[in-house]
């Protein structure tokens, strides 16, 4: 068996043995999205939708390969190059041998399915067009695979140094800010008077097609070259017009593959990862500087220190603080300054998203609250208190400030929604952290952001949806009650909704931890979330 085959076989066995919760979720969700792309191709072929939407969908699929590793840093490769450091071969040789196995992934399968939409488009145009489409899909997949692998390797490299970590944090914050608020400048052009209740659309109505300039830009990017080749093959364009994008994809993929091999070889040639956290406590760490207070305060202090000392939590803290500021920069120059206070809602959502995996990040340290009388209640409340201090209070203060500065006619609606979102985020994050743990390396084995954490994507999107839904409650209730924009009503509803979320979810979290805490601990000790479901509940 060649070394490449051995690596591929090892990767396949690791994937087969699991744990496969996240992989299974990703496969199902990804295949559903890929089926959507194929459906779009079928509809485009039938003339039901404009083909430019297929261009947009395929480009979006391609973009996920680049954005994924940036948005989810700490996700570990299936085969960690460090395992093979001691093999008696040159690092570059080992990296080359590992390269072939990288194609074995859920992402490759999903993308291959999505890219088969090119065959759907080409099918009516004869065998030559189908052959070009098959080549385009393969070349596009090759390019995207190595784009994703290279992005993950670069992010991993950046996260291993402190300055690099902040560069990565800024990158992710920019992406998040654009994702959450990037549409505002565009909508501000379309509906400039929405803040005053004006619903007159200024630009011509959106046609049933992606604007031509946008489509051209998407086809001009490497993520669109496969479709560009198919487009050339199905029209009267020359052979060169179809061949050029394909050659570009293969050449680009080869360059990215070489980049990945070089980065992996570099990892293989370096000494083992730093075993020290490089964080030291200040003078307050001594007994003389101790704090008073009871169990809740003890947990709150522990949490505050952990947020600033745990590398992954610190990265999340940075995102949650930087991203709303970038969103303000995006929104402030537009005609939609009335929307500025609504950034508070998104800031609360972000605070919840970065705090949604803290139980897993703390790992098996959960044994202590589980074996200390009364500590579970203190643990949940202390986590909430720390969240309020680090996220909730700045969010509310910032929202009030934005209300004052923007003179938004909808300030009360925004503040009411932010109050509700803050309560939901404060109480929802610990609950979902216990319910949906994304288990990675245990806390004692994580000393830098380059170390492995679980993929918290599921929990993050769940808390995003939940907090956003709760945030809408005061506005909807005020509207249904005919309160209009009466500010006392919005504020009272916001406070009531937020308080209800905290009062309702806190006992739920405590009860869940009492009942399933030992199973959660066992799952984290084994690194297998499946144990959480298979274990019987603890006797209380």
């Amino acid at each position: 068996m060649s070394a490449s085959t051995a690596f591929a076989s090892l990767r396949w066995r690791i994937m087969r043995h699991g744990p496969n919760d996240e992989r299974g979720f990703g496969l199902v969700a990804g295949l559903a999205a890929a089926a959507g792309v194929i459906a779009l191709a079928v509809l485009a072929r039938a003339g039901a939708v404009h083909p430019s939407w297929l261009t947009a969908a395929v480009s979006l699929f391609g973009l996920t390969w680049l954005v994924g590793p940036i948005l989810l840093p700490g996700s570990s490769p299936v085969l960690d190059p460090q395992w093979f450091r001691t093999l008696p071969r040159r690092p570059i040789t080992i990296a080359r041998e590992m390269a072939a196995s990288e194609a074995i992934s859920v992402g490759t399968l999903i993308t291959a399915v999505a890219l088969s939409s090119m065959l759907v488009v080409a099918a009516p145009h004869g065998p030559a067009a189908v052959a070009v489409a098959a080549a385009a899909a393969a070349a596009q997949l090759y390019f995207l695979l190595w784009l994703g692998r290279c992005a993950a390797a670069v992010v991993g490299r950046l996260l291993s140094s402190t300055p690099g970590m902040w560069v990565a944090a800024l990158q992710m914050s920019v992406l998040l800010a654009v994702s959450f608020a990037g549409w505002v400048p565009l909508m501000a052009l379309v509906l400039p008077d929405l803040g005053e209740g004006g619903t007159e659309v200024v630009v011509p109505p959106v046609s049933a097609a992606v604007p031509a300039a946008v489509e051209d830009a998407l086809l001009g990017l490497p993520t669109g070259w496969g479709l560009a080749a198919v487009g050339a093959a199905t029209s009267s364009d020359s052979f060169i017009a179809a061949a050029m994008p394909l050659a570009g994809l293969v050449a680009g993929g080869a360059v990215l593959r070489a980049g990945w091999i070089a980065l992996t070889a570099h990892t293989l040639s370096r000494p083992p990862a730093r075993a020290q956290s490089s964080v030291t406590a200040g003078r307050s760490a001594a007994l003389a500087g101790s704090h008073g207070g009871g169990a809740v305060r003890a947990v709150t202090v522990r949490e505050l220190k952990t947020w600033f000392r745990d590398p992954h939590r610190k990265l999340g803290l940075g995102h949650a603080w930087i991203t709303p500021l970038l969103m303000i920069l995006l929104v402030a120059p537009t005609d939609w300054t009335w929307a500025l206070p609504f950034i508070g809602v998104m800031a609360a959502v972000l605070g919840a998203m970065v705090a949604v995996n803290t139980y897993s990040l703390d790992g098996t340290a959960l044994w202590q609250p589980l074996t200390t009388p009364g500590a579970i209640r203190a643990d949940v409340r202390g986590r909430q208190a720390a969240w309020m201090l680090l996220f909730g209070t700045p969010v509310l203060a910032g929202t009030v400030l934005l209300c004052l500065l923007s003179r938004s006619p909808l300030w009360a609606v925004a503040l009411g929604m932010t109050l509700a979102a803050t309560g939901a985020a404060c109480a929802g994050a610990p609950l979902l952290s216990a319910l949906m743990p994304a288990i990675g390396a245990d806390a004692r084995e994580r000393v830098s952001t380059a170390d492995r954490t679980g993929n918290a994507g599921g929990g993050q999107w769940t808390v995003f949806t939940a907090v956003a839904a709760v945030a809408a409650v005061p506005a909807v209730a005020a509207h249904l009650g005919g309160a209009g924009s009466l500010w006392p009503v919005h504020l009272a509803l916001g406070i009531a909704t937020g308080a209800a979320a905290v009062l309702g979810l806190s006992p739920l979290t405590q009860r869940y931890l009492r009942r399933s805490g030992p199973a959660l601990l066992s799952a984290m000790a084994a690194g297998d979330p499946a144990r959480l479901r298979s274990a019987p509940p603890a006797r209380s």
């Binding site: 007994l287 169990a295 044994w367 009388p373 000393v447």
Partner: protein, 251 residues
């Protein structure tokens, strides 16, 4: 006339199964109060599973656990109050220093102002006071064992449950832990520990139980169990030695 103290730990028919594998098979065990008690056995014998059930971190399939006279199923709070726990392979609040961890533990347990003296004593005796700014995540294996012991001891529990306290640590750290445990037992405390290291068990424990395949093979005072031999030889005799044969390609 005073009533006799209840056993520190009493297990009756304790059973735990993981899928098809019977990890603990109807164990009956009594650990008298005030003793230094060792559980020994090969890897996978069920030692850690038994200790986890005593600590309340694993629910038994059947059987009962009593600690200091309290039933673990119905009097959980009292049992947890009576126990000090150090289990192998679990994290601590890793981003705190040793002193911060002890303060946190003291507040969590509601120990009064006396915690400061206790913490100071433990940090000094266990030689952890020389690294006041080092986070627990950066501790060496020995330091980690010692801070784990300090956390377990801080509230002066009636029973200490220690999983492999002497595993993978240097002789100096082992001696520090040994000394502290002897003081604790001398003061009336009970230590229930698991270990692979026979000479440590032989040197420190008064009673010992030998477990294999989830069952107790023998139990008694160290002298009774070793029966004139060494505990190591008795262990190998009861558990069975690995097959010995010459391997040609090694020569």
């Amino acid at each position: 006339m005073t009533a006799a103290a209840p056993p520190a730990v009493q297990l009756s028919g304790l059973t735990k199964r993981f899928g098809d594998r019977l990890a603990v098979d109807s164990i009956d065990l009594t650990v008298p109060a005030g003793t230094f008690y060792g559980i020994v056995g090969p890897n996978g014998a069920g030692k850690s599973t038994t200790l986890s059930m005593i600590a309340g971190l694993l629910a038994p399939d059947s059987g009962t656990v009593r600690v200091a006279g309290f039933d673990a199923a119905s009097r959980r709070e009292q049992v947890l109050d009576a126990l000090g726990i150090m289990l192998e392979g679990l994290s601590l609040p890793e981003r705190l220093t040793g002193a911060e961890l002890l303060e946190y533990t003291a507040r969590l347990r509601g120990i009064g102002d006396g915690w400061r003296t206790r913490a100071s004593d433990l940090l000094e005796v266990l030689e952890l006071d020389g690294a006041p700014s080092t986070l627990v995540v950066d501790y060496s294996t020995g330091m980690r064992k010692k801070i784990g012991l300090a956390v377990a001891l801080l509230h002066r529990p009636r029973v200490l449950v220690l999983d492999e306290p002497f595993e993978a640590i240097d002789p100096v750290s082992a001696r520090a832990i040994d000394g502290l445990l002897r003081q604790y037992v001398g003061g009336g405390g009970t230590v229930l520990l698991s270990s692979h290291i026979m000479d440590v068990v032989e040197r420190t424990c008064e009673r010992v139980a030998l477990i294999k395949d989830g069952r107790i093979l023998t139990e008694g005072t160290v002298d009774e169990v070793r029966a004139g031999s060494t505990l190591d030889d008795t262990f190998v005799d009861l558990v069975g030695a690995a097959p010995q044969r010459a391997i040609g390609w090694l020569a």
